[in-house]
C-alpha cells in the first residue's frame, strides 16, 4: 500500500499515445488484496443465477406396484401388478429396479442460492478493483497486457460516445489491447462436455472489461467484440471483476468512471458516500513488505548482534590428522618426536632410555636377589609351613596306624 497516492494518466481515446490529463488514484484501488475473500464471495454469488433441476416427483413411483412377499420364489421387491404385458411382475420402485426411481431424488427445493453479507460483497468488489490495478496480478490471470501503456488504464470520456464497433475495435487496439483481443479470438473452441449440445457450444477466454459512467453508445459499440464486456461504475459485478473467483481482470476505465470511483467509495476516513454505512476495507498489515520491515533501521537497531553459528565443517579424525591431535592433546607431537628419536642409536634420548632401562633391570635384580633367593622366599616359607603341617599329619596318621595294628593283634 503506497504512502502517497500514485497519479494515473488519462489517455486520449482518439490518440492513445498522448495523455489528456492525470488523476490521483482512488483509494478503492489501494484496498488490501484478499484473494480468499474474493474467492469465497464469488463462489456464493455464482450460485445465485442457477436454475433448479430435479427429477419428476413421481419418477419411478407411478405404478401400483406391491411386493409379492415371501413364498413365491421371487425376490421381495415390489412388482408391477396385472398381466398380459411384459411389464407385469417386473420389479419397480427401487433404485436398483429398471424403471424405478433414483436414489435420493434431486429436488427443486435444494438450496440453490446463497446470500452473502452486503459488506462482504462490497469488500470483495473493492479488493477485485485493487487487483485489477496491479500488473503482476493481471498478468497472472492470463491477460496479455505487454502493450498496454499503464495500469489502471483510464481513457478520456470520448470513448463513451463511440457508436461503431469498428471504431471501438480500433480504439482498443491503439490502447494496446490488440494482443488481448487476439488471444480471445484464438481461444474460441467447442466446449468439452454436454454443454455443447445444450446451447453452450463455444467457449472462449475473457478480454478486457470496460467500465464506463455514461453510456452514449459504448455498450453497443463494444458488445460484438469478442471477449470485451462493459459495466457501469455504479453497478460493478464481482462475477465480472473476478471471473472464476480469480481477481486481476484487465479493466479499462473511462475518465468519468474513474473519477466516480472516488465519489462512490470515498476514503478510509470519510467512508463511502454512495454506500450507506460502508467504509473501505482496512489492511491487516498496512506495510506488508516484510523484507523492508526487517531491514529497516528501526528494527535493525534494536536487534542483538547476530549469533555466530558454530559450523562443524568436515569432521577430522585426530588419529589421522596430526594437527588436530596436537590441538586436542598439546605436547603429543613432541612426545612422539622424542619417542621416535629414542629408538635411534646414538641420540641422547636413546641413551636416556637405555640408562633408565639399565637402572630398572639393576633394581629388579637387586630386588630379586633379596626377596627371591634364599630361604625367606614366599614359596619356601609357604612350603615350610606346608611341610610342617604335612609332617604333623603324617606323624598323626602313623600313630593311628600303629594303634590300629596294636588293636588287631
Amino acid at each position: 500500500m503506497a504512502t502517497a497516492r500514485p497519479v494515473v494518466s488519462i489517455y486520449n481515446f482518439e490518440n492513445p499515445s498522448e495523455k489528456t490529463g492525470t488523476m490521483p488514484m482512488p483509494v478503492v484501488l489501494q484496498s488490501p488484496l484478499r484473494p480468499d475473500l474474493v474467492r469465497e464471495v464469488h463462489r456464493d454469488m455464482a450460485k445465485n443465477k442457477r436454475q433448479a433441476y430435479a427429477v419428476k416427483p413421481k419418477a419411478g413411483y407411478d405404478t401400483a406396484a406391491a411386493s409379492w412377499c415371501t413364498g413365491r420364489a421371487v425376490a421381495r421387491i415390489p412388482r408391477a401388478p396385472g398381466g398380459g404385458t411384459h411389464r407385469a411382475g417386473q420389479a419397480a420402485f427401487g433404485n436398483q429396479a429398471r424403471g424405478g426411481g433414483m436414489f435420493n431424488p434431486t429436488t427443486v427445493w435444494r438450496r440453490w442460492h446463497r446470500r452473502v453479507n452486503v459488506t462482504k460483497k462490497r469488500h470483495a468488489v473493492a479488493c477485485a478493483l485493487a487487483a485489477s490495478a496491479l500488473p503482476p496480478l493481471v498478468m497472472a490471470r492470463g491477460h496479455k497486457i505487454n502493450q498496454v501503456a499503464e495500469l489502471p488504464l483510464v481513457v478520456s470520456d470520448g470513448i463513451q460516445s463511440l457508436t461503431k464497433t469498428k471504431q471501438a475495435k480500433e480504439t482498443l487496439k491503439k490502447l494496446g489491447c490488440g494482443e488481448e483481443l487476439q488471444k480471445v479470438i484464438d481461444s474460441k473452441s467447442i466446449r468439452a462436455g454436454q454443454g455443447k449440445a445444450r446451447n453452450r457450444r463455444y467457449v472462449k477466454r475473457l478480454g478486457p472489461l470496460v467500465i464506463y459512467n455514461e453510456d452514449n453508445g459504448i455498450t453497443r459499440a463494444m458488445r460484438n467484440i469478442p471477449g470485451v464486456e462493459c459495466a457501469h461504475v455504479d453497478r460493478l459485478n464481482l462475477l465480472r471483476l473476478a471471473p472464476g473467483g480469480s481477481f486481476g481482470r484487465f479493466v479499462i476505465f473511462t475518465e468519468g468512471a474513474f473519477k466516480k470511483l472516488s465519489d462512490i467509495y470515498g476514503t478510509l476516513k470519510s467512508g463511502a458516500p454512495k454506500k450507506k454505512g460502508y467504509t473501505l476495507p482496512r489492511a491487516a498489515m498496512v506495510n506488508a513488505d516484510l523484507s523492508r520491515i526487517i531491514n529497516s533501521t528501526e528494527v535493525q537497531s534494536v536487534l542483538r548482534p547476530k549469533m555466530e553459528r558454530y559450523t562443524h565443517g568436515i569432521k577430522r579424525n585426530a588419529l589421522k590428522s596430526k594437527e588436530l591431535m596436537e590441538e586436542l592433546n598439546p605436547g603429543s607431537t613432541e612426545r612422539k618426536a622424542v619417542q621416535q628419536k629414542a629408538s635411534q642409536k646414538g641420540t641422547p634420548e636413546y641413551d636416556e632410555v637405555q640408562k633408565k632401562k639399565k637402572a630398572r633391570i639393576e633394581e629388579s635384580k637387586k630386588y630379586n636377589k633379596e626377596h627371591k633367593k634364599g630361604d625367606e622366599t614366599f614359596y619356601k616359607t609357604l612350603m615350610k609351613a606346608f611341610e610342617a603341617k604335612a609332617a604333623a599329619d603324617a606323624a598323626k596318621k602313623a600313630a593311628e596306624k600303629a594303634e590300629d595294628e596294636e588293636d588287631e593283634e
Binding site: M1, A2, P6, V8, L33, P35, A131, A133, L134, P135, P136, L137, V138, M139, A140, R141, G142, I145, N146, Q147, V148, A149, E150, L151, P152, G176, S246, F247, N287, A288, D289, L290, S291, R292
Partner: protein, 106 residues
Amino acid sequence: MAAPDLLWQCVKNQSCFIRKQKNFPVMTAEPGNLCGLNNFQFSGLASKKVLGLDSKKVGKKESIVLTTRSKRESRQYRPGVVLVTTGIKKGKKQGPEQLKKARFAR
C-alpha cells in the same frame, strides 16, 4: 505497488504461467524468471529483483537477452515498460562479466 510478499501469496498457486508435472518441481513460464521455478526468489511477477535470461532469434541472428525490472516507481504500473531487456555480449570474457554485474545489481 503492493508488497512483494503479498503479491507472492496471491500468485504462487494461482497464475496462468504455472506449469506442473508429476515428480517435478512446480515451474513457471513468466518472463523475468531465471530458473523457471515457481518460488518467491525467482518470481518474475512478485519479486522486485527480477532476472531473466533468454535467447531471442531475429531472422538468422540469435542473441542472448537479459531481463531486469526497472527500479523507477513510475514504471511499476506500466506493464510494457517495467521489464528492461539488455543484450548480453557473446564474447568469452565480456558476456559473463555483464552477467556478474547484473547479478550483483540484483
